[in-house]
Amino acid sequence: MSTTDQKRTHRPRTPRSPAKLALRALIAMALLVDAMVHLDLAGGYQLAAPSGLGAGNLFRLESVVAVGAAVFVLVRGNRSSYAAAFVVAASALSAVLLYRYVDVPALGPFPAMYEPLWFPEKTLSAIAEATAAIAAGAVLLKSRRP
């Protein structure tokens, strides 16, 4: 085995610094909170906005994707997993802000989901999404290749 191969073998796949481990845990936890809130609200929202795919089914889809991204971050903790976490969290945050402030009509499979208010669960999921997006974005920026 050459020296280069030995270095490659012993190089840790993911950084092990306490700060980075804490960030990984934070991102995963935030995504899981987001998933739980969406799953909890899905039943009612499906009945409230059943057209197209239905708001509840979109919530369930968001939950599944968020859990997947959280597991990806926990298991791999590489750039791809942080990128996935960032995309999932940022898109969910964009959607909740869009439907909070803009009366978007039903569009294809997406029902009208305008909801001009905040309530504890919704606020919690938005904070969780923002946390995950900011933390994942920060890790991505810091680990940017020269």
Partner: protein, 141 residues
């Protein structure tokens, strides 16, 4: 010889117009359906855009509106009064008593529902079962 295909075309066009006319009248015709779970009450549903028919009790009806996920409820309603719920939101809501069985009406987006208020005076806490943050109280006296 040219007349025969022309007659056939006219007959086909008449048939198509006739069939489409039947379809549109069926979809726009006002319908009334029961939309309440409580056996002691009755409720009706008027689809969006359908004309509401006047009835002897229409002048005494009480109106509750739902807009931007908020209920606007009159100060009080008389026992057994006819209550109309107008949902101005783009999503469905419910008008459900916290105490099971008092009233439970599904307010379809853009439609107006009608139900009969409880006959027993009191303050009835209600909620939207789809949106747990939507709550209020209906005073019957």
């Amino acid at each position: 010889m040219i007349i025969k295909p022309a007659l056939t075309a006219i007959a086909a066009a008449t048939l198509i117009v006739g069939l489409s006319g039947c379809g549109s009248s069926a979809t726009t015709a006002p319908s009334t359906t029961t939309a309440v779970a409580s056996p002691s009450m009755s409720a009706t549903h008027t689809p969006p855009g359908a004309a509401t028919s006047a009835s002897p009790s229409a002048g005494r009806a009480v109106l509750i509106t739902i807009k931007d996920y908020k209920f606007t409820v009159p100060t009080s309603v008389a026992p057994g009064a006819t209550v109309m719920i107008m949902n101005l939101d783009a999503v469905n809501h419910t008008f459900t008593s916290v105490t099971a069985g008092a009233f439970n009406v599904t307010a379809v987006a853009g439609a107006t529902e009608t139900f009969t208020a409880p006959s027993k005076p009191g303050s009835y806490m209600f909620k939207c079962t789809f949106h747990a943050n939507m709550t209020g109280a209906l005073v019957v006296k």
